[in-house]
């Protein structure tokens, strides 16, 4: 058993070292970026709709990054998320600790949805894994504070994300597949996974375009899965 374990660790190290050798442009501090995107989306509850996204990545120093994400959904839903990300650069890859607050104003349903999340992640050239926990608070905006009306709190939800890339991050294009129950603008229930295919191409030193597709099935863990929704996102990123 011990030998098998050592073999797995050894193979992992070989793969990681190969990835690290390919990444000749790795720096401890990532560059500040600003991104804009539009999304076409469909789900069974809201029908067809579009979203507009604006996102910014602001590395504070070599140990802390800040992400700010905003999305306006044409179905009258607005989302803002802030991620503070302490990180440690390792010989192979990077360990990060995401602390996130995501606020969703679901105006069409007169509700707010606030998520606070903590997670630990590790990423290197070919993969990124993240696991943690989040708490959800939901309330109606029209809540009568002098009645039995109550807010909803789901204190412990698992969050997870696994993304695998086909090329090292230093390459000028890359494609990744992800399996997760959250993304920049939503936190789904533990048993409500999202499947994503993400692609990017660096036009030059500053400009990057990306094209992402996400599929959300429902009832997977009812063992009776059905298509629920999908999103296609196209956008650009400017790297300072």
């Amino acid at each position: 058993m011990k030998k098998v374990g050592l073999l797995i660790v050894g193979l992992g190290m070989v793969v990681m070292s190969y990835g690290a050798q390919q990444d000749t442009t790795r720096t401890d501090i990532r560059r500040s970026t600003i991104s804009g995107a539009i999304e076409y989306s469909y789900n069974k509850s809201w029908g067809h709709f579009a979203n507009a996204d604006v996102q910014a990545l602001l590395p504070v120093n070599r140990y802390v990054e800040l992400n700010v994400n905003f999305q306006a959904c044409f179905k009258n839903v607005y989302t803002v998320g802030v991620v503070v990300r302490p990180k440690v650069v390792l010989p192979y890859g990077e360990l990060f600790f995401d602390t996130e607050v995501l606020y969703k104003a679901v105006m069409r349903a007169n509700q707010m949805d606030l998520v606070t999340a903590l997670s630990l992640g590790y990423r290197f050239d070919y993969a990124s894994v993240q696991i943690g926990s989040y708490a959800r608070f939901m309330s109606f905006y029209s809540r009568n504070w002098h009645s039995d009306e109550a807010y909803q709190c789901e204190p412990f939800n698992l969050l997870y994300r696994i993304e695998v890339y086909c090329r090292p991050q230093s390459c000028n294009w890359n494609v990744g597949v992800a399996f997760a129950n959250f993304d920049d603008f939503q936190f789904e229930r533990m048993w409500q996974p999202l499947f994503a295919l993400n692609g990017r191409y660096d036009i030059d030193e500053h400009w990057r375009v990306h094209l992402d597709a996400t599929c959300k099935p429902t009832g997977m863990f009812h063992l009776n899965a059905a298509f629920y929704g999908a999103t296609v996102k196209a956008g650009f990123t400017y790297r300072f």
């Binding site: 011990k2 069974k44 509850s45 109550a150 909803q152 936190f187 429902t218 009812h222 063992l223 009776n224």
Partner: protein, 297 residues
């Protein structure tokens, strides 16, 4: 010693995974593509059936009791389910009972389920055989919808209760959430029926289905529910149209929460041979009172 324990725990985990994957009671391909008809098709077939049966108005006293059970998961035994039906039939204050889904555990058990309780399988109202059923995910996977339909007829319907002089009392709406969504048409049907019935000034409106909306304790520990978008929409509709309570099962453990103006109740499982199996006794009057009864008592 420590190594042996570690190895044993790894072996146990692998065995558990292997048993789960090979368990004939689980429709594993259904995890990626459900085998039954989709929600919208089931809704259309259910509404056709409802049309044939006609509207259901139950005559009841102003104060009455409803027995509610869920997740009997009938497989080789039917003890708890039989006892539940016996108790319901013996209670003179209880004009009807509800089963919130997962009648059976897996394929081939509907016959056993209905034979054991000696209740009429199809047609809603039949004296003390008046039990309303909800389709659960276990009743659907392995392409069981045709069989479920042959026994129960419908998965989406409504009925109401009235006094002998015709005064409207309570409205009950049954939803099909067996695949974790009501579907496009199911959500629209719920919206339409609530809008139409809200004008009639019912005393209480109850929505009952299989899938729970929220889970506060050990959130979603082992059961899946609706996507967030659908959760917002259903919660909004229920609050907007004055639904009093939403009764569900699926999670197997009890939970009573309030969100907005609506009370959300997850009823305990009644399956054999669970140590703590409960059903819910609801006293419908001016107020709604709940009691959870241990089936062993």
């Amino acid at each position: 010693m420590k190594n042996i324990k570690y190895q044993l725990s790894i072996i146990n985990l692998l065995l558990l995974l292997a048993i789960t994957a090979c368990n004939p009671n689980y429709d594993m391909p259904g995890m990626f593509n459900g085998s039954s008809e989709r929600a919208d098709k089931r809704l259309a077939e259910s509404l056709d059936y409802d049309k044939k049966v006609g509207e259901i108005h139950l005559t009841v006293p102003e104060d009455y009791t409803v027995y509610v059970c869920t997740d009997t998961h009938v497989d080789s035994t039917t003890h708890n389910w039989e006892k539940f039906v016996k108790l319901y039939k013996a209670d003179g204050a209880c004009p009807f009972a509800l089963h919130l889904g997962d009648l059976i555990n897996a394929k081939g058990n509907f016959g056993r389920f209905f034979n054991a309780a000696k209740v009429a399988p199809a047609g809603y109202v039949s004296g003390k055989d008046t039990i309303f059923y909800v389709v659960g995910n276990h009743d659907l996977y392995f392409n069981q919808w045709p069989e479920y339909k042959s026994f129960v007829g419908t998965s989406t319907y409504w009925f109401d209760t009235r006094t002998a002089d015709g005064t409207l009392l309570d409205l009950y709406i049954c939803l099909d959430s067996g695949e974790g969504t009501l579907g496009v048409d199911g959500l629209k049907w719920l919206s339409d029926i609530l809008q139409e019935k809200a004008e009639k000034k019912y005393r209480h409106i109850i929505v009952f289905t299989h899938t729970h909306m929220f889970k506060q304790d050990d959130s979603q520990g082992h059961t899946s529910n609706y996507s967030m978008e659908e959760t917002y929409e259903i919660a909004s509709l229920l609050t907007k149209y004055g639904v009093a309570e939403y009764w569900s099962g699926h999670d197997h453990s009890r939970e009573i929460t309030t969100y907005g103006k609506v009370k959300y109740i997850v009823v305990d499982a009644l399956e054999d041979p669970v140590e703590e199996a409960f059903f819910m006794k609801v006293r419908m009057g001016k107020n709604i009172e709940h009691e959870f009864v241990d089936i062993k008592d």
